[in-house]
Structures are given as C-alpha cells and as structure tokens.
C-alpha cells in the first residue's frame, strides 16, 4: 500500500472515528465475553470436579487395595516396613497423572468380625449381639484423643508368644484395645472390661481376650479419616428378629500389635490387609479427567511375598472412575447446553458486528462512491476496507482477550484464540462486503429497491429447508452419547441459529402483508402520522435482515437459557424429593409408635409417616423393595411433593393386600403376587407410578399399608424410617433445620441418620458446576438481551440520517414532537414487535425442539427427566425490559432530532 493510501486511510479513519469505535467496541466486548466463557468454564468445571470429589467422599475417591491374608511375621524383616514398601510400590507404579493427586497413604490390617459372647472374667454378658473387628492401622493414633485410660501397648506380652514348642494358652493372652467413647456405651463396655471375642463357626477355635484400656474421641469427627473408618466411631446398628439390637464396631490395637490382628498369635483365622492412597480433591483440574480416567484403567498391583506364607496380591482399585464418569456425563450436558447458548450468542454477536460494519459503510457511502467514480477498483476498495477492518478489529479483539486473561483468569483453551480470530476476520470481510453493496446503485436512489428476485427466494427456501431438516434429524437422532469424546455437537449448536434465521426470513416475508392491510385501513382514516409511520416501517428503514435476526436470536437465546435455568432449578427440587422422599427422613433401628406420635407434636412438623422398608421382596426373581407405611400419614407427607405417587383416597382391600406398585412391576395393573421372607403376598394393585420418592428410580417397589403387612406376614416390621413433612412456613435454612432435627431426634430416640431435602437440594444447587453454569446462563440471558438492545440502538443509528431528513421535512410542515415520537415508534414497532413475539415463541419452542438431544438429568442429580419448565416471571421481565428499551430508544431518537437545526439537515440531503 502506498504512503498516499495509508495517509488516506488514516484520515478516513479519523473522520469516521465514531462508527469505527462502535465496531471496535462490539469486537472488544464480544471478544471479552467469548474469551471469558472458556475461562469461567474452566473455573466452573474445576470447582464442579472438586465438589463432586468432595461429595463422593473418601470412599468414592480413594485408591484402595485389599486382600485377605497377612504378611507373615519375620524375624529378619520388619513387616511394617514391608507394608510401607508395598504402599510405596503401589504409589510408584500408579500413573503420574493420578499419583500426583495422592495426598497421603495408610495401611491397616483388620480382623474378621468377632462376636463378643463370653466373659472369661466371670461376668456373663447380657448382650450377645455385639461384634467387633480388631484393627491395626499405622496412623489411627494421630486422629484420636484418648479421653479415658491409656493408649494400648504395642508390646506383645510373652504369654501370647510362649515358648517355641508349647502352644499359647489363649486364656492367658490378653490384647489391649481402644474403643470410641461413643461406641463403648452402646455396647455396654467400659474401660478395664475384658471382652472375649469369638470367631464364628466353623473356625471357632477359642475366644480372643481383649482388654479395653482406652476410650477415644476423634480429633475431628468430620475428617476424611473417619469416613474411611466410620464404624470405629459409632457401631453399625440393626435389629434382627432373633437377637434384637445388633452392634458392629471396630476396636483399635497398637500398630505394632498387628500380629494379634493377623491371627498369627492367637486364633484369628481371617484378616484383611488394606492399603489406601488418598487423593486430594483440590489437586484435580477438569483438564486432568481424561488422563486420570486412563490411569484408573490400569491401576497397579503389588505382591506381598515371603518364604513361609501364601503370596498375597494387592490390586489397587477405586470407585473414582465411576465418580468421574458421572462428572463427565454432567459436564457433557453442561457443554451441550452451553454450546447451544454460546453458538447462538456468537451468531448474535456476529450479526451485531455486521450492523456495526453497516454503520461504517453507511457513513462512508459518499467516500466509497467518490472513490469508485474516481476509478478505484473493487479490489482496491475491498483491500483498503479490509485493512481498515483489521486495523480496527485486531487490537480490539486482542484487548478483549487479554482483558479476560487479567480479569477472569483461568485456562483459556482454543476458543480464546479462535473467537478473536473469527471476529477479526469477520470484520475484515464484513466491512468491504457491505461497503461494496453500499457502492452499488449509483444513479436513481428513488428507484432503488430490495433484492427480491428468484435467487433470493431460492436462498431463503434453502435456509428454511435446511433448518427443518436439521431439526428433524436432531429429533430423530436423539441423545448424542459421543459428545464426551467428540466435544461440541455441530448439529445441536447449529439448529437454534438456523431456526432463528429461518423464522427471521419468514417474519420478514410475512409481516409486510398485515402491515399493508393495516396501512390501507389507516390511510382511509386520513391520519398522516400512522400512515407515514407504517409506510416507512414497510420499507427498508429498519435496516434489513440483520437487525431482525439479532433481535430474534438474542431473545431466543435469552428465553432458551431462562427455560433451561428454570428446568434445572425444578429438576434439583424434584431430585431432592426423589432422593429423600420427604422434607426430612430419619433412620434408626426401629421407631416405636409412641415415638412417632411424639414426633408429630414437634413444632414445625406437619406430618410424620413411619415406614418399614424391606429390600428383600421378590417378584419373578426380581428384587422388590417393599415400603410399608401409614398410608394416611404418608399421603400428608407427600402433599407438597411435585413428583409424588398417585395415592388413592383409601387403600383398602378385603382379601388381598392393597398396594401402589411401580409401573415396571404391573404395567397393566391387576393382582400381583410377591414373596417377602418366604411369605407370599397377594397384592391388590390400586395404582401404579413410575417412581416412589426415596426409593431409587430404577428399583421395583410396592407401597403397602404397614398394619396390613404386619397382619399378612405376622412379622413385627419395625418402622426404621420416619418421613417427616414440615409446616409450609417452616424455615429451611441450615440453622433452623439443625434445631428442628435436634427436636425430632429427641422425640425419635435411636435416630442414626437424618437426611433433609433442603440440604440435598442445596447440595445440588450449590455444587460448583451447577452454580457456575447457572451463573453463566444468567449471564447468557443478560447478554442475549443486551445484544438485542444494541441491535435496536444500531438500527436506529444506522438509519438515523434518512430519518432525520424525513422528520425534519415533516417538522417544516408542522409535525409536533409528540407526532414525531409516534412516527418513529410506528416505524420501528411493527418489525421489533414481530421480532419480539417470534423471538419469545422460538425461545420457548427451542428447548422442546432440542429436548431429545439434551439430557439434563446428570445436571439436576435426578434419575428422572424433569419436564421443561417456563419461568413466566423471567420471560415476562424479558419482554417488558425489551419494550422499555425500544420505548427509550424512540424517545432518544426523537429528542436527538429535535436538537438538530432543520436547515442543515435538509440542506445536506440524502447523500450527505
């Protein structure tokens, strides 16, 4: 390019700095927003992954190797060191992508459960249903505070070893153990007690004597350590018909006392070695998921070998792969929905960019025509304008990208390069392309007309045809499962854009028809303003196709994201109902009727339904969960549940047991015979439902009245579960729920676990992934609406000069300010109104059209698909907000025109 051309471009740029600034601003903002998304998503996905790993708990994310057996005692080698070596070997053989995330290791040896039956100290035990495992672990003492007694000794008493040739007398060998301060009373054991432990048949050689020397409390009961060894703090309790309340717990021995646990000293025949590698959620990032998954596919094994014992193989295993699989599915859903919204918004941004480019070419029409008349070739003009476009867009795009790196941080990925590049190229192409269009039509401007030939019709029909075909293909193809591997689904993301463009085309084609009818009606009334306004609206004053597409697509995306947001919110609530089954669910070994009655009196409680849940029902070799409850109370509990089962007014059956059953068991209704603990139960099916709250969605279940089940089976069927409904106004913040839980557990003694629906819903809603994506959706709604607003403003600015001339001419004829406002409003309202209505409708329709290809379940934590939900409030707010924007724009345009001096506007004329 010559110096002259460079100088000319520079002067021209300065002369049209305003319009170029608009282009630069659109590029900058779009680049910033588009580059922010992957960066924000990297935060969201990282946080989502960490939350998922935290929620999965240590058992979900640890790498664990277990093996039956033990390392033999060796005089030459320290077996503890051997365990340590095995642990280190496992860690070393683990793929670094996973090994780098290991924050700690532990190993332990745990005996089988031994039954405390006989007291050799002379006192017979009252409670035979207490079982304890002995555990030697390398680090348990680091996690406890001894609150009574002293730590167990690691020395092996000589009487437990005995002379080499003589058998040890187990009655003389006593092992020191420590119990949790909470567990000991449950088992009626105190410090100093000798607890004899006996193996079950057929290994019942002789009892192992233990002396409880210490009671401990955890340093931090919430620490991950205790999730891995929960029974050490509080025993697992259950009621059996023959032995009543059962306790199963863990007693710790000193680490060096592991030979006891291994049974090498005394008669324990079965023990288990466990090595655990702890992973730290904070060290995971979403980019590592695939390498970690690959590493999990080839977890190493370690062999513990010695000369005089069987070789044991420690194969590292983990549930982390299924946790990550769930996460990846959740992320794929997020990606799918986000990509639809983002592609739509990017298309909107490009259309807005086209409008800004048109503003430049409108401002430059004279220059371009002059250059053409003076002999500038099309290539020369295109080159100059492309260079100008590059000069304006490139710094803006880079600035936007850099700004995101500074403001948002996070990892960028390919999109942070691709989108700015796309914007720069689009500007470099759009400015010359629109400029070229602007340079045409020399001569008679009064006879200029829109392109309406057969070529346009063919193009438009092709676009509509492709859109329809794309929708049909997408709906027929349904859910794409390869999104995880292949990334963004191009068909899915292109459908909304194609639909919006198609609807835009149809609107532009159809809307002049009613407009003409209204125009002719108005013309007959002889009122000039409506006639002129509508006549101008029917022409190209609104700036052509781009603004309609922008308005439509912007609103479509705003409404689409609001529908998805509302559906996710509803899905979360429904999932919490499905998971918990009531506002609160309390579980124990069994609640007596009086306790249930007491619970009903607790302040804030609306209803309590006791339930006995048996998982051992059977129907045609399928497991059936039998939920027996007080049907009346259960109906009260489910009253507020949006996904509750249909409960008939009464569940009465004269002969058969009345029941509501899962649809999978009795698709056609009719009597159903199931087996429960060898008793055949004939069920009179009163209703069927796909799912029952609180029972996994894929389980077969039956719901029967508790009293009738007791009659039918003759068993007690203790109600070990209490479903609680709260009064409608009861606060569900964590503190209030804690207080309520305290009151309820006081009324319902023996409660071992309390699950609250509000907390579950909060957990889903507050998880990093859901919060982040919902935040991005909210941003999507705002961005869509903002671009639509920008489209309105740009439309008015692009056509401002023509409008100024018309308004000024009419002002010279006596047009009042009010009439001018009415004229501008009538000019832009038909098209913006048509775009608003069609945008809202398309926004509402898009989720339904895409529904077969988007599975929101992984995202809501629900097992059942949530019906798409429209948040009427946000849609109304969007429509109202948009109307306000249009109104304000009309006021600004007319106010700006009133400030203009009539003479200068009219003298400059159309070609200025």
């Amino acid at each position: 390019m010559s110096t002259g051309a460079r100088r000319l471009l520079a002067r021209q740029g300065r002369a049209h700095a305003g319009a170029l600034a608009v282009v630069a601003a659109v590029v900058l903002v779009t680049s910033f927003l588009a580059c922010s998304v992957p960066r924000v998503l990297s935060h969201v996905y990282d946080q989502g992954l960490r939350d998922t790993l935290v929620a999965a708990g240590p058992t979900g994310r640890d790498l664990t190797a277990t093996a039956s057996g033990y390392l033999p005692l060796s005089e030459d080698d320290d077996p503890l060191a051997a365990y340590d070596r095995a642990t280190q070997a496992l860690l070393a053989d683990t793929d670094p992508s996973l090994a780098d995330r290991v924050s700690g290791t532990t190993y332990s040896v745990t005996s089988e459960l031994l039954t405390a039956t006989v007291d050799l100290g002379g006192q017979a035990r009252q409670d035979p249903a207490t079982r304890l495992s002995l555990r030697a672990a390398d680090d348990w003492q680091d996690h406890v505070d001894i609150v009574e007694g002293a730590r167990p000794s690691g020395e092996i008493p000589p009487e437990c070893v005995g002379p080499p040739d003589a058998p040890v007398d187990p009655r003389a060998c006593v092992i020191e153990v420590a119990l949790s301060a909470d567990a000991a009373p449950e088992m009626q054991i105190a410090v100093g007690d000798i607890v004899p432990l006996e193996q079950g048949l057929p290994f019942g050689g002789g009892p192992v004597l233990t002396r409880v020397v210490a009671l401990f409390e955890p340093v931090d009961a919430e620490a991950d350590y205790w999730s891995r060894a929960g029974r050490a703090l509080f025993p697992y309790q259950f009621i059996s018909d023959d032995t009543g309340l059962n306790n199963e717990g863990i007693a710790f021995v000193a680490p060096r006392a592991y030979p006891f646990v291994q049974g090498q000293v005394i008669g324990i025949s079965s023990s288990q070695v466990m090595i655990q590698l702890f992973t730290e959620p904070a060290t995971f990032s979403s980019d590592d998921v695939h390498p970690v998954q690959r590493a999990l596919d080839r977890l190493p094994a370690s062999r513990l070998a010695s000369a005089d014992a069987p070789v044991i193989t420690l194969q590292l295993r983990s549930q982390l792969d299924s946790v990550l699989e769930d996460y990846v599915a959740q992320r794929a859903t997020a990606d799918a929905v986000m990509s639809v919204a983002l592609a739509g918004l990017l298309a909107v941004a490009l259309a807005v960019l086209a409008m800004a480019a048109r503003l430049v070419t409108e401002r430059r029409r004279v220059t371009v025509r002059l250059a053409v008349a003076r002999g500038a070739s099309a290539r020369q003009l295109a080159g100059w304008q492309a260079i100008e476009g590059l000069a304006v867009a490139a710094p803006a795009a880079v600035a936007g990208s850099v700004l995101t790196a500074v403001v948002v941080g996070g990892r960028g990925g390919r999109a942070t390069v691709a989108v700015p590049l796309l914007l720069v190229l689009a500007t470099a192409v759009l400015v010359p392309a629109l400029g070229r269009a602007g340079s045409r039509g020399a001569g008679r401007r009064d006879l200029w007309r829109r392109w309406a030939g057969p070529g346009r019709l063919v193009l438009e029909l092709s676009v509509v045809g492709v859109a329809v075909a794309a929708v049909l293909t997408l709906r027929r193809r349904g859910l794409t499962t390869s999104a995880v591997e292949l990334g963004t689904d191009p068909l899915l993301v292109s459908v909304p854009v194609l639909l919006a463009v198609s609807v835009g085309i149809v609107v532009l084609r159809v809307f002049p028809i009613p407009l003409r009818s209204v125009g002719s009606l108005v013309a007959r009334r002889g009122d000039a303003v409506p006639f002129l306004g509508l006549a101008r609206s029917g022409r190209d004053v609104a700036g052509g196709t781009a603004p309609v597409i922008v308005l439509l697509l912007g609103l479509t995306m705003a409404v689409f994201t609001s529908v998805i947001s509302a559906t996710l919110a509803r899905g979360g609530v429904e999932a919490s109902w499905q998971s918990v089954g009531a506002d609160l669910r309390l579980a124990s070994a069994g609640y007596p009727d009086e306790a249930i009655e007491a619970a009903r009196e607790v302040d804030g409680v609306a209803a309590v339904a006791p339930a006995a849940i048996s998982y051992d029902g059977e129907f045609e070799r399928r497991d059936v969960t039998v939920v027996a409850t007080d049907i009346g109370a259960y109906r009260d509990v489910q009253r507020a549940n949006p996904v509750g089962p249909p409960l008939p007014a009464s569940l009465d059956g004269a002969d058969a047991l009345p029941a509501v059953v899962s649809s999978s068991l009795a698709p056609d209704g009719g009597p159903l015979t199931i087996t429960l603990r060898d008793t055949e139960l004939v069920l009179d099916v009163a209703a069927t439902a796909p799912t029952l709250p609180g029972i996994p969605a894929d389980a077969d279940w039956v719901l029967v009245p508790l009293d009738r089940l007791r009659e039918a089976t003759g068993f007690g069927h203790d109600a070990e579960t209490a479903y609680v409904a709260l009064d409608p106004g009861t606060p569900t913040d964590p503190a209030s729920l804690d207080r309520l839980t305290e009151d309820l557990t006081a009324a319902l003694p023996g409660t071992a676990a309390v699950t609250t629906r509000a907390a579950e819903a909060r957990e889903v809603a507050d998880s990093g992934l859901v919060t982040g994506v919902r935040g991005l959706f909210a941003a999507g709604v705002v961005t869509g609406a903002a671009y639509a607003t920008l489209a309105v403003v740009l439309t008015l600015v692009v056509t401002a000069r023509q409008r100024d001339v018309v308004l000024s001419q009419l002002r010279t004829l006596g047009l009042s300010g009010r009439q001018a406002r009415a004229l501008v409003a009538l000019e832009i309202l038909p098209l913006t109104g048509a775009a608003l209505v069609s945008g809202l409708l398309l926004g509402l329709a898009t989720p339904w059209l895409l529904a077969p290809a988007i599975d929101l379940r992984p995202f809501t934590g629900s097992e059942v698909a949530t019906p798409l939900t429209v948040d009427a409030l946000s849609v109304t707010a969007l429509a109202a907000g948009f109307a306000v924007v249009v109104g304000v724009a009309v006021l600004l345009v007319t106010a700006a025109n009133r400030r203009r001096v009539l003479g200068s506007v009219l003298r400059v004329g159309e070609d200025a």
């Binding site: 021209q12 002369a15 250059a371 003076r374 002999g375 008679r444 006879l447």
Partner: protein, 318 residues
C-alpha cells in the same frame, strides 16, 4: 432497376462511415429504463449526441429530462439499457469491470453539483486532488507536482491546505474541477457545477471549466440549467423527454468594420431514423395534435397542422 455484379461488389466493400466515427463522445439511440416493482421509468428514449474532441458542449433540459442519467452513463457509473455509447473510442456497453476502472481513472473526470459528492470533507484541497492520483497509483513526486499545477491553473492554489468547510462554494467547485482533472482525463463531465452558486461565482467556475478545456485540452460536457453558462459555449444541446431535441450553435463574426457580432442559431435535431422533435411552442401555437401534414419542397419540408388547407405545391404526406 438493375445493378451490375461489379457495382454490387463495389457497394459491399465500400467503406461506410460509422455514425459519429470521428466524434469523441458518441451516443446513438441511447435508451435507459429503470425498473422497480412493476413500474418502468424510461429516462432516456433513443438519445443521439455527438461531441467532437476538444469541444465544450452544454446540455440543457428541464428537470427529469434525462440529463443526469446521460452523464451518469457517460461517467461509467451506470450502464444503458440499449443503444450505443462511446467515449474516446471506448464502448461503454461492452466494458469489463477492469475496463470500467481504467476508464474512470484515465478517460473521464466528473464534477457533481453537490460539493459533498466531489470533495471529502475530512481532506484538504490538495489531498482531495491527490485522491484520484493515489487511486491510480501515481508516484508521490508526480502527485505533488500535479496537485500544485492543477490548483494553480484553476486559481485555487491558496486553498491548498484548506478543507471544504473552509472554502467558498466557488472555490470548492474549482477544486472539484482540479480533482476531476487530476488523472488528465480526455473528457470532463460536469453535472450542474454552478447550480448552487451565485452569478458571479458561477462565472468564476465556468471560467475554470473553460481553462481546463483550453489548457488541458479536455472535451467538456456540462449539464446545466443556467442560461448564462449555456450561453457561453459554442454548442448547447437541449434534451426533452429523454431525447436530444434542439441544438443551438453559436458563432462570432467580425465584420469589415471590426465589429464583433455573436450569432446563435437554433436547430431541431434530426436523428438517424429521420425523427425530429418540433419545439413545443411551435406545436402549441399552431395547435398541432396527433398528426401533421408534410410537404417536400425543393429545399425544405413544410409542416402543416392536420385539417389546414392542402398545400398547393410539392409532394404531400399527411
């Protein structure tokens, strides 16, 4: 009537001069029709025009007569629907895109009525004149020389560093003529160049055009409403309803006493098909309507209104 074979051969191979083959600007039966949504506007309906090299011609006509359409076609910005348009040997109907660019750079220059269409508001006079040279890729030194030369020639050297808003209307139009002349075109087209100016300023601008015609040797075609402008050129062509209707030829005679007299003879234009537009006032005066009677005399053709007395001499047509 019989012809010998030799005579026929001679006739066939004889060089028949093309219409206006020596003219610099040729329009032969030029037609331009604008079509829009069911409406056709015939802006030019068989216009004929010949302008010789180095001539300065004024084209006059009422608003909507097709003057501006003619100039737009001649400037290469529009293409006629039918007919022939040739400027400096370049057929305007058969130009490729590349030819058109070359044509606009090298063959024609254009001055519009509105200053805003001639000059870019954000460039100085010198920069505006340099614009076509930049477009044509002229070297820097040549540009500077040419800009200075043209501005001085047209008497606006002092405006060199002024922007259009800092110049008077006459100065702007003179700079516009310099811009149009920058690439030394063979033909300069001016559409109402004095339309927005007062009489004195219009005179200055017209002088500038004459200077360009004389000093730069350009053929100049000026479309104007201004009778003063039209009265200062040797030939004025009148356009009516998309066709050339009259021509006024001016000549200056000096008698034996040294007295200079200016003569202006008005002619009706006879096209190649023999069509002739009668002046409107003649038609009105004699109440001619639909048909006229013609009579061929030995040295002229007589035209009578239909219904008038039969002419007594010559051959009649009616």
């Amino acid at each position: 009537m019989t012809h010998s074979l030799e005579a026929l051969e001679r006739q066939a191979t004889a060089h028949t001069p093309v219409f206006g083959h020596e003219a610099h600007v040729v329009c032969d039966n030029l037609v331009r029709i604008f079509k829009t949504e069911g409406v056709e506007v015939v802006a030019l309906q068989g216009l004929d025009l010949l302008v010789d090299e180095g001539e300065m011609v004024a084209v006059v006509g009422a608003s909507g007569s097709g003057k501006s359409t003619l100039l737009t076609i001649l400037s290469g910005l529009d293409v006629p629907t039918a007919g022939l348009a040739r400027v400096a040997g370049q057929d305007l109907l058969a130009m490729s895109g590349r030819d058109r660019v070359r044509y606009q750079r090298e063959v024609v220059g254009f001055v519009w009525q509105q200053t805003a269409r001639n000059l870019l508001a954000y460039l100085t006079a010198a920069e505006n004149v340099a614009l076509p040279l930049v477009v044509a890729g002229a070297p820097r030194r040549r540009r500077a020389e040419r800009v200075g030369e043209l501005l001085e020639l047209l008497g606006v050297g002092y405006c060199r560093d002024r922007r259009p808003s800092q110049m008077s209307g006459g100065e702007q139009q003179r700079v516009s003529i310099a811009v149009a002349s920058a690439n030394a075109p063979e033909v300069l087209l001016a559409d109402e160049p004095t339309g927005e100016l007062d009489t004195a300023t219009a005179g200055e601008v017209f002088d500038a055009l004459k200077t360009a015609n004389r000093e730069l040797g350009m053929t100049i075609l000026v479309v104007t409403h201004d009778p003063l402008v039209a009265g200062q050129v040797d030939r004025t062509v009148g356009i009516r309803d998309g066709r050339t209707s009259v021509e006024v030829l001016r000549r200056t005679e000096v008698d034996e006493h040294g007295q200079t007299t200016h003569h202006a003879d008005e002619y009706a234009v006879l096209d190649r098909a023999g069509r002739l537009q009668l002046p409107r006032e003649f038609v009105t005066e004699l109440e001619m309507d639909r048909r006229v009677r013609l009579a061929l005399e030995s040295d002229h053709i007589g035209v009578w209104p239909d219904g008038s007395a039969r002419p007594t001499r010559g051959r009649h047509r009616g």
